[in-house]
């Protein structure tokens, strides 16, 4: 590894007990009805995710960061909006974690913090005139307040 290269691109994580065992993880667990700490980082979710290559954080990285209470990093990531809710990660998780649900909750948390990602004004009108309604309804429900 080139000297210092990693430090420039990857910001160091500051871990402290308050953050790691803080409200964020508990709220995420309760809203998603999942047990985030059950994830043992096998990477199955990331390897099966058809959109992983467009994400800034791999699904397994998102899981790791939420285990460490890093709310800011995940709520401001591109990954949570790139996820298409296809449930591939969910059905392949050997620990039975509904990872798609975790993504849903993260979107909901980000939207509640005012990070409104998407609105009708951002849809190409030609596209909106053609896309079947389930596409429009789910995009608005998943990606906007």
């Amino acid at each position: 590894m080139a000297e210092g290269a990693d430090n420039e691109t990857t910001p160091r994580l500051r871990l402290d007990r308050e953050k790691v065992r803080g409200e964020f993880g508990k709220r995420l667990d309760s809203l998603s009805e999942q047990h985030i700490l059950a994830c043992y980082q096998c990477g199955n979710c990331s390897s099966g995710c058809p959109l992983a290559e467009e994400m800034d954080l791999l699904p397994s990285t998102v899981m790791h960061l939420v285990q460490l209470g890093q709310s800011e990093a995940v709520l401001n990531s591109r990954s949570i909006w790139v996820c298409a809710s296809c449930l591939q990660c969910t059905v392949r998780c050997p620990k039975g974690i509904d990872i798609q649900k975790v993504m849903d909750v993260l979107r909901q948390m980000a939207l509640a913090e005012g990070i409104d990602h998407f609105g009708p004004d951002q849809v190409d009108p030609r596209n909106a005139a053609e896309v079947p309604q389930p596409g429009l309804v789910s995009a608005y429900r998943k990606l906007s307040t």
Binding site: E130, P134, S138, L143
Partner: protein
């Protein structure tokens, strides 16, 4: 004629009318009637994002409660999104005491007042998940039977090489949907074989087409669909067969963008499974809605009808 309660959903009444229309005609020829609910609303398309968004269950549960109240035990739907949304909401109220109480408490207090609906304020009965939600493919497999379809089809679609595409919400999550294996499903293959067609094996049949990203990140959907289309075309498919309105749109209309972003991607017609059924049941071609396609399905249709002229007719 057997009748079964039928929930169409919004897409099938307009943008994806060519998914519904052949289904209605083919059902009649197979001896059952898809009896559309007297009144219905949007199903919500997606399940609630979290445990606290209980309101997202109200629309699907109201629909299912109305079905139960009219005395039906089975509700058939064709759209994969409606199927997923209704079935998961049903699962939710069947398995969560708290959610069942909350949704029913809301529905009891807030029943829509419409002059064409009987007032049921006094005799509200809690909805407990009694209705069985079935996909039309599931109904054809488990109630009508693929063997019966193979017996009663008018045309054998021999020579047609079709690539089934499952997408995501029709099968997943496995424990709530349970229609077929999530890793190695066969329901569309079995259906097509019953119609006399040949199926094409390719690795992308359960990989997501981008779903609603078609609205927010169309380029992402185009990339995923170009993989699916190239793979199916490489294996020699004449067409890809889908059952979801959004899969259809992403794979069909998106081919314009795909040809610009990924030049060299072969163009391939996309068919709804109901259109394939319609061809096998000899429905009028003008009823199959082929004019709503971006990629002209004529070569496939001609091949199918050619097999009819070629003596495939029973």
């Amino acid at each position: 004629m057997t009748r079964v309660a039928y929930y169409p959903g919004c897409a099938l009444k307009e943008r994806s009318a060519h998914l519904e229309r052949p289904a209605l005609g083919a059902a009649e020829k197979l001896g059952f009637e898809l009896d559309e609910l007297d009144s219905w609303t949007c199903c919500g398309a997606v399940p609630p994002p979290s445990e606290e968004r209980i309101m997202n269950l109200v629309a699907p549960i109201r629909i299912l409660k109305d079905v139960r109240d009219t005395g039906d035990e089975v509700l058939v739907t064709i759209c994969d999104f409606c199927y997923n949304s209704l079935k998961r909401a049903n699962h939710r109220v069947s398995t969560s005491d708290l959610d069942r109480k909350r949704v029913n408490a809301f529905l009891r207090e807030n029943q829509p007042k419409r002059d064409y609906l009987p007032s049921t304020e006094e005799d509200y009965r809690d909805y407990l998940g009694e209705v069985q939600v079935m996909h039309l493919l599931e109904y054809l497999r488990d109630v009508v039977g693929f063997e019966e379809i193979a017996q009663s089809r008018s045309t054998e679609l021999s020579g047609l090489r079709l690539a089934p595409y499952y997408g995501c919400v029709m099968l997943r999550p496995e424990d709530e949907i349970g229609l077929d294996s999530v890793e190695n499903p066969t329901i569309i293959e079995d259906f097509l074989v019953a119609l006399g067609a040949e199926t094409v094996a390719y690795p992308y049949r359960t990989v997501c087409c981008g779903s609603y990203l078609s609205v927010s990140f169309p380029e992402s959907s185009a990339r995923l669909c170009s993989n699916i289309i190239s793979s199916a075309a490489e294996k020699g498919a004449d067409a890809i067969v889908v059952s979801c309105p959004l899969c259809f749109y992403n794979l069909d209309s998106r081919q314009k963008m795909i040809s610009e972003l990924y030049p060299g991607t072969k163009s391939i017609p996309i068919l709804y499974f109901t259109q394939v059924l319609g061809m096998a049941m000899d429905l009028d071609i003008s009823d199959l809605g082929f004019d709503k396609h971006y990629v002209d399905p004529e070569p496939v249709v001609e091949k199918a009808l050619g097999s009819l002229k070629g003596g495939g007719s029973r």
